[in-house]
Structures are given as C-alpha cells and as structure tokens.
C-alpha cells in the first residue's frame, strides 16, 4: 500500500477512506438534523474547518519529517495575543499585527527546530516543554494588567466575513495556505527533503543535504501556521484569550493522521490532510447535533485516531 504522490490520477487508500468517512458522517448527521446538508450549514462548517486547516497544514509538515509539534496550543495563543496587542496598541495596525504573529511563529518554530534538530531532544518532549514555557510567558504578560486583546475589525472580517458568493473569507485563507504548502511539498527540493528525512534521515544527511536546516524549516512552518490560525480564531471569537488553543492540539494531529499521513513521518498527501480536517470538523458537528456532550466528543476523537492508526499506522514504512 504505497501513497501515490506522483501517479497523480490515483488516490491512496487512507485518503479515499477519509473522504468515504466524510460521506458517512454527513449521512448520519442528516438523520439527526434536516439542516445538516443545507448549503448555509455546510459553509459554516467550512469556515470552522478553515481554522483547523491552517493549523493542521503546519502540523503535517512536521509530522512528515518524522517529528511532532506539541506546542500548538500556546503558540497559537501567543500568536493571537501578539497580533491583537500589536494591531490595536501600536500605529502599525492590522498589517503590523499579522507580521508580528508571523514573526512570533517563526521564533517559536526556530526554538523548536533547534531543540529537535541540533540539540537532538526528542521533539515530543522538547515542543511540550516549549508549550509550557509559552504558557508561562502568556501568564506573565497578562498577569498584571489586561492587554489589548480584542480582535480588530479586519481580523474579524477575515475570520467570519463573507465576500464572494457568500463563501467565508477564512476559507480563502485556508485555500491560499493549502496551495502554498501543497506545492512546496510536491514541487520544491525542500518538500522532497521533508519526505526523505521522514523516511531515512541518515541517507539524506549522507547525500550532502543540510538536514538540520530542513527540520528547522519544518518547525518554522508549523509555528507560523499556528500563529496564523490564532489570528483567525481571535477574529472568530472577537478576542484573544488564554487557553484559546487548547482544543486544537488533538484535532490538528488527528486530522493529519486521519488523512493518511504516517504518524512516524515519510508518507502522506496534503489532500489527505484536507480530508482529515473536514472529517474532524464534521465529526464534531455531527456529535453536537446528536446532542453528545463535549466529553463524548473527546472520546470520539480519541477512538477515531486509534482506529485509524490500527488501520494504517502499522503498515511498515520501508519495504525491505
């Protein structure tokens, strides 16, 4: 069972499964609510999916390279807070806010990348530590006084506004970022290196490629994705607030894995991640129209990941 990244016409089994699951979820949802299949409701789901999609895009790049970024929640939060504070509190405005968020994401990604690629701390531990440190920084920063944390009108517009054909602007943001990531993975040396490192870092290193730089790049992409996701979420919620990123760690990784990306790296398609994001989002809303509480939703996510890993995660990465 090989992920077919180059035989363009074929879709690999995990991606097909993810899309089939989406159809099943839509069918079940429509039984519980007649609205479930309405255009309005689906567009709203697409808007919610966009936030997760932007975060999952970055998470996927790191997972493909054989690492993991567990600093998603607080990178997202600190990105959102920096953007809102910068946009409202300085003369740079919205542009300044977004540039600041990208900058923060780059710095966090750089720290994660240095820890995982140069200091060689397992990324699972290192990024978890960075997450805790960022948590602390946010508490320090917001502890004494209330910063300007209200989202600007611009942020609100890109997150929930609609301009063309009543499609939420956030969807266009997601599409834009998706195109960048998908082309980067398929058509640039960097993308090739990411897949190759996820399979066999030693071979890539001995091929005269600076694998550390590639890994640091992957973590930076994840950091920037998290911060941009944070800006969108702040726009959606109207403000940046502590713990706003907590509900996104598991769904982001779940979306990547459900989309067929090997959780140990080396294989997976971007289309799969898109399918995974849609599936996770629709699964959540299906559970809510079934009036299942948050606790039940968490259980469903967990079970979905485990089932998917059982189905695909155990297949050997290498054929001897």
């Amino acid at each position: 069972m090989w992920p077919i990244r180059l035989g363009q016409s074929k879709i690999n089994p995990p991606v097909a499964t993810a899309f089939a699951s989406i159809v099943v979820v839509l069918a079940i949802g429509s039984i519980f609510s007649r609205n479930f299949l309405s255009i309005g409701y689906l567009l709203q789901q697409l808007q919610v999916a966009s936030f997760l999609g932007v975060i999952a895009a970055g998470a996927m790049v790191v997972i493909l390279a054989g690492h993991i970024d567990l600093s998603i929640p607080w990178t997202l939060t600190i990105g959102a807070m920096t953007a809102t504070a910068m946009a409202a509190g300085t003369p740079f405005g919205d542009a300044g806010g977004i540039v600041a968020a990208v900058l923060v994401g780059t710095i966090v990604g750089l720290v994660n990348g240095v820890g995982a690629a140069i200091l060689r701390v397992p990324s699972m531990i290192f990024t978890l530590g960075v997450n805790a440190v960022l948590d602390g920084i946010v508490v320090l920063y917001t502890g004494g006084f209330a910063p300007r944390n209200a989202a600007t009108r611009f942020m609100n517009r890109i997150a929930v506004g609609r301009s063309i054909l009543d499609i939420p602007n956030a969807v266009f943001v997601w599409i834009g970022i998706s195109l960048i990531v998908a082309f980067m993975l398929r058509r640039t040396p960097f993308g090739r290196y990411i897949y190759a490192i996820g399979n066999s870092e030693g071979s890539v290193y001995l091929s005269g490629i600076n694998t550390r730089l590639v890994l640091i790049g992957a973590f930076i992409i994840s950091g920037v994705g998290n911060c941009l996701g944070g800006v969108l979420l702040a726009g959606y919620a109207g403000q940046a607030y502590q713990s706003m990123g907590d509900p996104y760690l598991l769904p982001a990784i779940a979306a990547v894995v459900l989309g067929g990306t090997n959780v140990l790296g080396g294989s997976g398609t971007y289309l799969g991640t898109v399918a995974g994001v849609l599936l996770i989002t629709l699964l959540g809303s299906m559970l809510s129209v079934m009036q299942i509480a948050e606790a039940g939703r968490q259980i469903a996510y967990g079970v979905a990941i485990v089932v998917m890993l059982l189905a695909y995660g155990r297949s050997p990465r290498r054929r001897e």
Binding site: G7, R187, S200, L206
Partner: protein, 521 residues
Amino acid sequence: MTGPDGAAGTIGRPVLWEARGVTKRYGGVVALENVDFACSAGSIHAIVGENGAGKSTLVKIMAGVVRPDAGETWLEGRPATFTGPADAAAAGISCVFQELSVLPHLSVADNIFITNPPRRWGLINVTAQRREAESLLAMLGWTDINPRLKIRDLSLSRRQIVEIAKMMARRPKILILDEATSALAAEDVGKVFNLLLRLRDKGMTIIYISHRLNEVDRLADLYSVFRNGRHVDTFAKGSRTHHQIIRLMIGRNVERLFPPRSRYVASGPPGLQIRNLNWPPRLANISLTVGCGEIVGLGGLEGQGQRELLLGLFGVLRQLRGTVEIGGQPRRIGSPAQAKSSDNRMALIPEDRKTEGLVLSLPVFENITLASLRDLTTGIWIDRKEEASRVDAIVQQLQIKVGNVAAPVGTLSGGNQQKVVLAKWLLTDPRVILLNDPTRGIDIGTKHEIYQLLRNIADEGAAILFYSTDYDELIGCCDRVLILYEGRIARELTGSDITETNIVAASLNVHSPVPAVAAGE
C-alpha cells in the same frame, strides 16, 4: 594434506561436537557448503580464514544462533539441533561474540547472572549474586573488577572480560571466542590467554577465532582453515608455516573480471591528499594521496578504521585532526553538505545502501536526484522535465534495470539499488569518490559493471578511494592498495606487489616479509 574429516582433526581425543555435511545459505550467498568439522574435549581449536570464509556462520550454528539448511550437528555422540542460544547454553555451549552483549546500565554482577540469577523467594538474591560474581571473577583472575560497578564505567577491555565471565558463569563444556580478544588491552591479553590454557587443561573445549595468527600460535592446539564456506584443512599446531596457512586461506582460483588498468601517470596536484589524519582511537596518523585518475584501494581486516577514514573525509566525524587537500587546495570539511559543495565535489558510497545510501520507500527517480536537486531547480521549483531527462540518461548509462522510475527503490534488486546510489552521486559530477565496500552482496555481473564504471570515471579524472573487503577487487581494480591495521596504514602495495598473499599478510600484520608466491606452487 590432512583430510577435513572429524577423526583426523581430533588427535585421538573423543569428539565433543561435530558437524556433518552442514550447509547454510543467506539468500543466494552460500555461507557454509557441505562442511564436516569436529572438535574434541580439552583442546583449543583455532578457526582461521578470510572475511566471509564461513567461520562466524559455523560458530553461530554451534551456539544455536542460526540453524543449518542441511546437514547434521552432533553433541557428545548424539544428534543435537538447538532452537536458540539459550538452548545451546543449556547443552553446554556458550559463545562470546565480537559485538558485546553486556548491558551498559547494569552492574557487573547483574550482567554476569543476567539469564539465571541466584534467587531467594522468587526474587533476585542481590547479596548472593554479588558474592558469586566476586568469587567467579577471582577464580578467573580479575580481583580488581568490582561487581557493583556499572558496565558503562568499565573500559572496553574490561567489558570484554565481563562478557567472558558471563559465559563462564554458565559452566560451558565448549566456550567459543569469536574475535573476542580483539578489544582486549595488552595487560588483559596475557591473563586471558593463561585462563584459556588453564581451562583447557581442566578439560574444556575452546573454539578460538582470530585474525591474528601470532596470537593463535600461542594458544591453539589445532588449526582449521576455512575458505569460501568450505572447510579446507585441519592440522596440528606447528605442522604448517604462516605462509602455508595464508595460502590455504586464499586458495588458488582467482577470477579475472576486472577492466584493464590505465597507465596512471601523476600530473598536476593530486585529487585528494591527506596528512596526519587522527581520530583517536580509531585513526592514527593517516597520510595518503590519491591522484586524479587513480583508484587507490583500502584493505585490511574489517574494523581497522577504514569506515572511519571514509566518513571522516566526508565530514561526518567531529574533532578529526589533520589536513585534507583537494586538488591541491587545503579544505576543512565539516559536513557531508560541505563535502558535496562545488568547492570540494566529493561523493561517498556508504557501507549500508539500505539505511545510508537510499530512502527505500521513495521512488527510484527521487533517490537518483536527491543529492543533485539543487542543480535541477529553476527559481524555487524543481524542473521536472530536466529531472526526468537526467534520470533517463543515467538509468540508460548505468543500465539500471527498473520498470518504472516512480516505483519505490526498495523494490529493486541489491545490485540495481547500488547502481541507484552510484547514479545519485554521478549526477553531482564528483572529482573525489569514496567507496565503502560497494559490491558487498551484489551479483557478479553487476560487480563487473561497477568495476568498469569506476575505471571509466577514473579515466575521466576523478580520484577514487575504494575500500573493499574483497581481496580480488583490491587486486583487480586498484592502482595501489593501502592496508590498514588498527587505524594505521600498515603497508602500501603497488604494481605486482598487490597479491593476495601480501594483502593477507599485511592485514594480519605479519611482520616478516612475505616472499612472492612462486608460479605453479
């Protein structure tokens, strides 16, 4: 010549363990072919032979690590096939391998009694274990090893001693030492040898494998020579000279499958020049020169620093000291990326193509262009047309047999996989090529193509440093051969001096000059 049958090999003592018609294959490689071998109680029996002669396979069969494909093994007059090392140990056969099996984070006593610790109420009796370890070590002659110490705090030599003690704790009838003394420090060697002689006198059988003939002479009562998976001769100590033994190890038939040498004439600065390269303790004062257009062979036993030398030159090792010049220019090479850069244009064909040379699950074409992707980009995008045409050209040139270049490279045969590794590096247009045993496990036809390819590349002006464990390759393919022994260049062979006899003698660091083998002998 004494026949290799059991009776002749036991000088009157009762046979303890015997192999009859044993054959073992690994894939298409025959490791042992129809081998008869016997060892008797109360003797030290040395097994000698070249790399790949089948020595290690034989002792692995004795120790229950692998099972023969055909033939019988007998222990004390009864057929005995072991299901695993534990089974063999229970029957009284223990083996100390070159690769240590002691666990670094456990104590000496824990390691010695790891399989069968003294117990009380079902729990490990730590006090008794320490006491027993102490008395065992004292009995063996190492009172200065504290059983409470962690293995990681001991020197390599002392770890080897603990390994031997661990096997002795099982009270074996047959103790096998497979290159187990190569890591011993000088002061431990004598003690180990005395111990082995003492154990023999008490009736133990010791199978001793070593490449060091001088050491073997001090210990062995009997020699058995293996060559290409066959048991060629068994004889008593002193009945053959070193040179006769070496000739037995080599055999006579050498196939000629090598391209003719070009007349190498040094001109201009050498492609690669190294002075006083040091990487303690594996490399000591290595100086060598490889001219443009020259193929220089690296020989010697496995693990004498050849791998480290190649990796060091390619920028993988840290704290390597010495000077490296490429094309007459001094260079500092800190990483494979620097080694590959346009200033240096080096290439390394690594030892293990599956984990170091290739990304097995990626397509053939992605592997081929992995090292040269930078030359294939326009802007930030990979030029896929250019990539496809270069891949097609190199696949044609090297005659890589591949149905679809989008298939995972792991689906190709070993020979074609190695060609993909070569193709990857040829696309970088290297001028210094380092090869680490590139034909290991490859069919003879592909080997031939690789030799021809190397000669062609050399003729185009590349400097090639070629480590091989195959003596025939060194003789047939190389303009000069350097033999490494314990991290040093023990001998340089040129022209007609590149013979198997000389290579083997230099590899074993036999100091007396070896006379050229007379024709027809």
